[in-house]
């Protein structure tokens, strides 16, 4: 067997090993989130709320800015095309649907992937290096229950909330540029937006955001537990964690968009 073949095989094995262990990790997290609370091992809600503040509330400013600007861009770009057909008024409907179905969930997830995956991996990875995680284990405290579950819950609760916020702010951004720069009448803009939006659009965006939240929390935490070496290892794991979250989010987005398109 050539060296290249040997190397590529070990890469595949490496990949498969990570896939199996990340699914074990997810399994364990779900066990501590859904099963153990009924066996007398309660979820740490206080820690979860602290994390919600950390990943959710503190992400609002950056989320607000990004979604406002994206709203503006969406309306400008669609108006540019629609002008050719004399249908510039429909920029409002197009932007609203595109935002709620796609742009708001995806961009919120991407911003949080950078912000939160990195923070989770760096924090927990450093705890692994300084033996804090082993100390928890030795005190018979499951690191999954103590560290991962609150972060997981915080993400799954906060990402859909942030997505709704991004929907609203994005539409407001679009409204400003649509009425002030393009010259759509305010009442018409609002009417078109409300008319175009279906519950289905918003829901499909929210379902996706829950999937993205699971990806960000799981990848961010998992990468921390496989850190090898000291500071260098933490840095590397943080980088891999952000890249992996981003790619997984976009792949999952593609998959779910296809499912929604075909079945709903």
């Amino acid at each position: 067997m050539s060296l290249a073949a040997a190397r590529s095989e070990s890469r595949i094995i490496f990949f498969l090993r990570h896939i199996t262990s990340i699914s074990c990790f997810f399994n364990e997290t779900m066990k501590w989130t859904l099963v153990k609370p009924f066996q007398g091992k309660p979820i740490r809600f206080r820690a979860a709320i602290t994390q919600m503040d950390e990943v959710g509330v503190k992400s609002i400013p950056i989320m607000g800015l990004v979604s406002f600007v994206i709203g503006i861009i969406m309306v400008l770009q669609t108006a540019y095309q629609l002008e050719k057909f004399g249908a510039v008024n429909y920029a409002a409907s197009l932007a609203a649907v595109a935002l709620t179905r796609e742009m708001a969930p995806l961009l919120t997830a991407i911003v949080l992937a950078g912000r939160v995956s990195a923070a989770f991996t760096a924090e927990l990875g450093t705890m692994l290096v300084t033996e804090e995680i082993m100390a928890l284990e030795v005190m018979a405290i499951s690191p999954i229950a103590y560290l991962v579950v609150p972060r997981f819950i915080a993400m799954v609760v906060m990402l859909p909330c942030l997505t709704v916020l991004a929907d609203v702010i994005g539409i407001i951004g679009g409204y400003f540029v649509g009425t002030l720069a393009i010259g759509i009448r305010s009442a018409l803009y609002i009417h078109n937006t409300v008319d175009a939006l279906l519950m289905k659009d918003i829901m499909s965006g929210l379902v996706k955001s829950v999937v993205f939240a699971v990806i960000i929390a799981m990848v961010g935490c998992y990468m921390a537990f496989v850190v090898k070496g000291g500071a260098e290892g933490v840095g590397k794991a943080t980088m891999i964690s952000v890249v992996t979250s981003l790619i997984s989010i976009i792949l999952a987005d593609c998959l779910f968009t296809a499912i929604f398109y075909l079945f709903f």
């Binding site: 005190m139 018979a140 405290i141």
Partner: protein
């Protein structure tokens, strides 16, 4: 007082083909201070990790109070872990929690005690290590020696039967080293706690240990009271306790011939 609390029988462990522990046998008596000594890379940290149940051996037994912990599942292991405390080399305190919360953590997790009683117990443990005034600080605001003392207080929080110490005196000045050694002795003698100390600090080990073993390349090369060890005729042990650069412990650790290695380039 001669009942064996912890017994290691023929423990073998290898990582990626390299044998790290090669048939370790030792017995720790209840209430005694037992020191595991050896140079860097001799396998003493790996041995400790077996004793606290975070690494499983390839073969061999670790008997604690008559039960083999290498056969424990996660639930039994958690039960065992509540019976011992551990002081980590760098303290391993949770940096996000205050000193108070760090010590209260095992109490909050494993007991149903009232917050008030937990507060009292935390103060008692801190008084024991002489740091009662530092309750509200974060671990990062403490010096290395203080962090280790807080770590000891946390290890004692659940009134364990055994306390494991990983390099309790490494990186500390002579006075703090003395203080920590005295604390280990106090804890052991006054509270009747069995102590297992992994260290390469010969001075403090001779001072506190009732019995000790010296490890070299994954094997026990000497065993006995500090006096036995000091009088040992084994050149390995003599080199280790006197810290001399010449002797059977090699300075060079490469297995390849030097000349061959150079000519290969």
């Amino acid at each position: 007082m001669t009942e064996a609390l912890l017994e290691v029988k023929n423990l073998i462990k290898s990582f990626e083909g390299r044998v790290v522990l090669d048939g370790i046998n030792l017995t720790v008596e209840r209430g005694s201070v037992f020191a595991i000594m050896g140079g860097s890379g001799c396998g003493k940290t790996t041995l400790l990790r077996h004793l606290i149940g975070v690494v499983r051996p390839d073969s061999g037994q670790i008997m604690v109070g008559g039960q083999d912990i290498t056969l424990f599942d996660e639930n039994l292991m958690d039960g065992y872990r509540r019976r011992f405390g551990m002081m980590f080399q760098m303290g391993a305190l949770l940096n996000s929690l205050s000193v108070h919360d760090n010590i209260a953590l095992p109490l909050r997790e494993h007991t149903e005690l009232d917050e008030k009683i937990i507060g009292v117990m935390v103060k008692m443990k801190l008084e024991l290590v002489g740091l009662r005034d530092f309750e509200h600080l974060k671990p990062a605001q403490l010096s290395g020696g203080m962090q280790k003392r807080v770590a000891l207080a946390r290890a004692l929080a659940l009134d364990p039967e055994i306390v494991f110490y990983d390099e309790p005196t490494s990186g500390l000045d002579p006075v703090v080293t003395g203080v920590i050694s005295q604390l280990i002795l106090d804890v052991s003698k006054r509270m009747g706690i069995t102590s297992v100390v992994v260290t390469h600090d010969i001075g403090s080990a001779f001072k506190i240990a009732d019995k000790m073993v010296v490890l070299f390349r994954g094997k026990v090369v000497a065993e006995g009271t500090p006096k036995d060890i000091q009088q040992s005729s084994d050149p390995l042990v003599q080199q280790f306790i006197h810290g001399s650069p010449d002797g059977p412990i090699p300075l060079r650790q490469s297995s390849k011939d030097y000349l061959e290695d150079l000519l290969d380039m």
